[in-house]
Amino acid sequence: MAGKIKEMIDLIVRQRADGNPMLERVIKSKLMLKGVNPKKFDSNTPDDPAILQKLERMMHTLK
């Protein structure tokens, strides 16, 4: 399977920033500090369970 990481990154940024460009930058910075560089993932990137777990934790924590 591929593309799920990009989908989750986009979802996190969309949900949390709500269109605020400053918040989009902050959230992308937080992702990079966790070792997830949003620019490195596209719809063809294989699904890496370790990265997906980090993103799921981030989504879960905010709820």
Binding site: S29, K30, L33, K34, N37, R57, M58, T61
Partner: protein
């Protein structure tokens, strides 16, 4: 005046607190922030400070050097008082156990109860968080990342020091001293505010990708598929034996939006390099070289002043490695003078926080 700073270098805690009280109490502060040398006994200094400002919420921590308007100094105490006009509302929570995730949940629940708003819904333009954390617990990354997961509100802060003894650091809240703990203060300022994150480095254009790491130990085992010490030494152009001589001048940084989030090497252990903050597998780090700290900091302050129109106060969390570099270059007086025109409080930290945990950086909260 909404914000006022003062300092003291008297020999005893009582004399120093008395001096600070004389300078700051007339403001009738709602909050007092202080940073104190470990020459003052922790239990004593925090209790005396709270007693001196009984109407205020008082927080602080131990240091490895202090900063006030116009000067850097050692073996003293620097404090800042905030009027009710400057800080409309605040809540202070202590995270007693840095390794207990539920402790942070409890602090955030208390914030939500106080401000009657979910933390995830707080407007980051109206609220700001301060973080003062034990500088020797090695827990900064986990805490600041979890905070960042829970809220969009920016928390900025520093890791407590202990005058370079590396034995015990302390954080203080409302008359009590804590170890292995963090103080969180959620503020609703009555004035505009902005942030400074300044570091003085340029990108040397050499990438060191972390290909193997032990994140819990802040240890890079491999850079670019090679033993980390050898990979770093090769990038710097030196030998593994001599590589530590380059650590301060040539740390590495994760570039985000054109700015490095600095990770400073601490020591070589075997073939690995231990860092002063977290490194994660997959991170592409850039080799950095130090530049003019005085000029860069002056520029950052000027940008903040242009953004806000005026500055009524600065809280400066300045990395101890920056302070050591300034001391080596005999520039501490020049650095202090950068803050001569503004009420300023700060200290030399064992780590800085802004969105994440970083090194060799000054993170500052600036009030209009």
């Amino acid at each position: 005046m909404k914000i006022k700073s003062a300092f003291s270098t008297r020999d005893t805690a009582q004399a120093s607190v008395s001096e600070l009280s004389g300078a700051l109490a007339p403001l009738d502060p709602k909050m007092v922030l202080f940073f104190a040398s470990t020459k003052y006994a922790p239990e004593s200094i925090c209790q005396l400070m709270q007693n001196a400002f009984p109407q205020a919420q008082v927080i602080g921590c131990s240091t490895s050097g202090e900063i006030t308007s116009g000067r850097m100094f050692n073996n003293g105490i620097a404090a800042m008082a905030f009027s009710a006009e400057a800080i409309q509302d605040l809540s202070i929570q202590v995270v007693e156990d840095l390794h207990d995730e539920k402790a942070l949940s409890g602090a955030f629940a208390a914030f939500e109860a106080h401000f009657q708003t979910p933390m995830a819904a707080l407007n980051p333009a109206e609220y700001v968080g301060l973080l003062l954390i034990d500088g020797l617990a090695g827990a900064e990354e986990t805490l600041i990342e979890t905070i960042g997961d829970l809220t969009n509100t920016i928390f900025i802060g520093g890791s407590a020091g202990d005058d370079l003894k590396f034995a015990a650091t302390h954080v203080y809240a409302n008359g009590k001293s804590h170890r292995h703990a963090a103080i969180l203060a959620l503020l609703k300022p009555g004035v505009e505010f902005t942030f400074i994150k300044t570091q003085s480095f340029r990108d040397l254009g050499k990438t060191l990708e972390v290909t193997k790491a032990d994140e819990t130990r802040r240890e890079v085992i491999e850079f670019n598929g090679k033993p980390a010490a050898a990979g770093y030494a090769e990038a710097v152009g030196t030998t593994v034996d001599k590589a530590p001589e380059s650590f301060m001048r040539n740390p590495v940084g994760l570039f985000i939006d054109g700015e490095p989030y600095v990770r400073s090497p601490q020591q070589i252990q075997g073939n690995s390099i231990l860092f002063y903050c977290g490194v994660v597998e997959g991170m592409e780090l850039s080799l950095l070289e130090s530049t003019d700290m005085i000029q860069d900091t002056r520029q950052a302050i000027e940008q903040a002043r242009e953004e806000l129109g005026d500055i009524s106060g600065i809280i400066n969390f300045n990395c101890i490695l920056r302070t050591l570099e300034l001391t080596q270059k005999n520039l501490t007086a020049d650095y202090g003078k950068l803050f001569a025109d503004f009420p300023t409080v700060g200290f030399s930290t064992y780590g800085e926080q802004f969105i994440g945990h970083i090194n060799q950086t000054a993170t500052m909260l600036v009030f209009k």
